[in-house]
Symmetry: C2
Subunit: 313 residues, 2 copies
């Protein structure tokens, strides 16, 4: 009854871009069709250590496995030379309840499914002719969103906007060594790209709706708690099509919820992101489209199961 | 960042009766004093496989570690030669969020903390002169409750009442080989003992309140879901002292909640079990006392941490 524990390096080998993209796409489609079970997560807080623990579970209905993901964030760790985040994914048989494996992935699969979901939705919703991309933020997801979208379509120019000029410059250099044409940009200039992806922990909008061009697509992936907010309600008001990865979550703690509470759009004005992956999006080329992604537990489950299948080959 | 995984045999060695009793006692006292954090658990159901998964977390405030416990129950497993229950306990630092260890305990620590809590509370609430004990039920907890209470006080006679005569007889034989004087009994006779412990998954009361003698103590440990019920509301109405291990849980899904909803007692008529462990109970010898135990997540955390400390010595 003892199960294997796989480390991050082993998981990274098994989780090929093709596997991740296919699995995330299928799981988002399943979620949009109601073929998933995602119970409310469990939270514990440790105020004295500026830490928290989130436990999320998910299942694609009928799949052989489900997962329980434990993730901690202790934000004073870097001062002690430790990473802020830790956790594991426990893969469990949905037929017998036996634990099949533990993925000690150091947050890798969560980062990759977030990047893959952002890339898939941005690619599906942006105009075919869209080629310029801007990212707001200079962290891991800023890097990954560009990298994963570049797997799906040609990108002519990457604009990077960050609060820190140095970090924006460093990220541009990293992109340039990978063959992208990247440069740092002001918020106003970055908001004018064909495709805009926001990846920040901002608590107030990072761009002005008026700066976004007709025909552009904007994806927000950083807003994952009620007090966070990247995209202005006025942008949702301008959008011809709004996608959410999970209606309830986005209403509760996504940018979509801010727009609804501001009265800019109605609570039923969104479309499940997975539906847009299943059926090509028909969009007037002059319209603005917006996607609000908060992360779906059933996608974690599908990806962990798929990786475990690869590891068990 | 790789952590050890300890198996059940190793854990069993480390979890001595003294360690378990001391730790459970201290954790119940801490819980009664509000020095614990126990978030609402997370549930997933798998109706096609008659299975479920419960995830519980707990922390004794200020302790070095907290735990996340994953427990599955898949009730068709025995037909396939597998145990119904599986799971693990993840011990995590409350200072840095780093996973310290996984206890692959096969449910051992949950069984032992349940037995220790039942024994501690029964011993604290029963008359000093009480010597006869009856158990309702013939499963693992029936065996453990007798075994653990015998560590705390002399027991002259053990009466066993089960729906199956054969199982009751087999359990009596097991007790007799351990030096107890045990025999099978009717529900009416078993209800007349000085100390009564119910350990069944019953959905209707297993004894009549009128059969319980003045001066007796009754502990119910089997009721852990709203549809389950072992102790009749009329027994609570007769009780001079009612203890609950967690007020909210017992009201929501314990026998105490049934008694409150039946109008037999008020919702504020209970005393935290941990308080009775901290201060010796003053009881009129002629009074009936009742304890309703539903299992406290912070006790899991305290016990797992204590076992890990032993293992790390």
């Amino acid at each position: 009854m003892i199960y294997p524990v796989f480390d991050a390096a082993t998981i990274e080998q098994a989780a090929t871009p093709r596997l991740v993209l296919d699995t995330v796409r299928e799981a988002l489609i399943a979620h949009s069709q109601g073929r998933t079970a995602v119970p409310p997560p469990l939270h514990l807080q440790f105020p004295d250590a500026d830490g928290d623990c989130h436990v999320k579970a998910g299942w694609v209905t009928g799949a052989a496995d489900f997962t329980v993901k434990i993730a901690t964030g202790f934000y004073r760790n870097p001062a002690a030379g430790l990473p802020s985040n830790h956790g594991l994914i426990c893969v469990i048989s949905a037929r017998t309840g036996q634990i099949r494996a533990i993925l000690d992935d150091q947050g890798l699969l969560t980062a990759w499914r977030t990047a893959a979901a952002g890339a898939l939705i941005t690619h599906a919703m942006a105009r075919q002719s869209a080629t310029t991309l801007s990212v707001f933020g200079t962290g891991e997801q800023a890097r990954l969103q560009v990298q994963w979208l570049a797997r799906l379509r040609q990108i002519s120019t990457v604009l990077v906007h960050g609060r820190s000029q140095d970090k924006a410059q460093a990220l541009c250099e990293a992109f340039n060594t990978r063959g992208h044409h990247a440069r740092a940009a002001s918020a106003e200039e970055a908001a004018c790209a064909d495709m805009v992806i926001t990846t920040t922990p901002a608590t107030a909008p990072v761009l002005h709706a008026a700066h976004v061009r007709d025909g552009a697509h904007v994806t927000g992936i950083g807003t994952d708690m009620p007090h966070k907010n990247e995209l202005p309600p006025a942008l949702f008001a301008r959008a011809a099509l709004i996608a959410t990865d999970d209606h309830g979550q986005c209403l509760d703690h996504g940018d979509f919820g801010h727009a609804v509470r501001a009265g800019s759009v109605t609570a039923t004005s969104d479309t499940p992101a997975g539906l847009l992956l299943d059926t090509p999006v028909e969009r007037p080329n002059g319209a603005i489209t917006v996607a609000d992604l908060t992360g779906v537990g059933a996608v974690d489950a599908a990806l962990a199961s798929a990786v475990l299948r690869e590891l068990a080959r």
